[in-house]
Amino acid sequence: MRKLIPGVDSQLLIKDAAKVMPDPMRRTFLRGAFSLGALTFLTGCDIIDSDAAEGVLRKISEFNDGAQAALFSSTKLAPVYPESAITRPFPFNAYYDEDDAPNVDGAAYKLAVGGLVDNKKSWTLDELYALPQVSQITRHVCVEGWSAIGSWQGAQLSEFLKRIGADTRAKYVWFKCAEGYTNTIDMPTAMHPQTQMTFRFDNKILPRAYGFPMKIRMPTKLGYKNPKYVVAMEVTNTDRGGYWEDQGYNWFGGQ
């Protein structure tokens, strides 16, 4: 099998989603011959009950959110790469097949803006394309372990938030996507200079596979924290979770 990227089988990429989905039986989260068996063996007694263990693990994951927020630097930039380093073809990855990706009508598209902002007007694609544009060639790192270098163009989210009079002292920005995917991010990451409302990939209008018409590109966060097909955003002080985070992926998802 030809390797596209070290560690990624191109055919498997599409099927990845199914592979990493939680087991239908949530109880298997901690089961398996290894887990309880080994811990019971080592501790010499059967103290590990899986509900309690899951609760503890969730608490530690929250602690790790705090640790990552502390490690996050709002001025430290993700490394950038030359054009020759771009991974071609750049992999498609989602919890559904490429054929099932949302097909958003660009002409009818309006980005809804809500929450703690002065100006709640919706934005058409033409208006978004008219914003000052920036470009980055950065590494997209997936929680699964593989990575790929891509080229993204669009508007700085921080600039947009200022433009719409967002309360940037709020804690979070929440995104909603065409297929129902959601994502909440911390304000410091939203204000990071490389956090981008992306409209183009490799200088061409964002293809459907990569999130047409708009993706939020954050090279400081793992792939699942970079939503595609974004149709609405809200500035908020309430953590509204997200598609993967609610299933157990780490909330901060930083790099």
Partner: protein, 212 residues
């Protein structure tokens, strides 16, 4: 569970209490905390590996921990703190008390060769448990170094932006993944030999538990 446990009680009582422990209590405590943390890291690490394998094989689900990628990551990044804090305590005390210098140093190739030969002809003595032979010194120093590398390369792939200097030091994100994998493999290789030898010489296991 542990061979030789029956004999332990009698001997512990018989031993004069003033006699110095073979392994001080900090070595025993950090050793067993480390053993648990490492097993959790390996089991969950294998599950994480399976999500995006580096080689043409995956680990059987029955020997992995976490059930799925998200669960494995939760285990991995929980045990990570135990491993790091415990490891720092062990390393600090190992250097500060002079234990590393006394027990693990020096390691000379000729001594290692001589002890390997002795071991293969079953002539390697185990009378003095407070003294490590050259093979033990080499294995223990090697696994301590592997432990340091596995933690640092892990940090390099966990934070390739915030710790990007470290990631660069490990040859970039992709290369650091391989470094992390091979450091794990070295530790697993050590473990197989290490546990086998501990079971072959049960009194060494007892000493690591009771100190005597």
């Amino acid at each position: 569970m542990m061979p030789g446990q029956g004999a332990m009680t009698a001997e512990t009582i018989a031993a004069p209490s003033a006699e110095k422990a073979i392994h001080p209590v900090w070595v025993r405590v950090t050793h067993w905390i480390n053993a648990i943390a490492i097993l959790v890291m390996i089991g969950s690490g294998w599950q994480i590996y399976n999500a995006s394998p580096l080689f043409d094989f995956t680990f059987a689900k029955s020997i992995t921990l976490g059930g799925w990628l998200g669960g494995a990551i939760q285990w991995h990044f929980a045990a990570m703190w135990v491993l790091m804090v415990n490891g720092l305590v062990y390393l600090t005390l190992g250097f500060a008390t002079g234990r590393f210098r006394r027990k693990l140093w020096p390691i000379t190739p000729s001594a290692v060769l001589a002890d390997v030969k002795a071991a293969l002809t079953f002539k390697l003595a185990h009378d003095d448990l407070s003294h490590y032979n050259a093979v033990q010194k080499l294995l223990y120093s090697g696994v301590i170094l592997s432990g340091i590398i596995v933690v640092l390369s892990g940090l390099a792939i966990w934070k390739p932006v915030q710790f990007q200097e470290l990631t660069t030091l490990f040859g970039g994100y992709n290369f650091a993944r391989y470094v992390h994998f091979f450091a794990m493999a070295a530790i697993v290789g050590f473990l197989v030999v290490h546990v086998a030898l501990a079971l072959l010489v049960p009194k060494s296991l007892r000493a690591m538990v009771t100190g005597r």
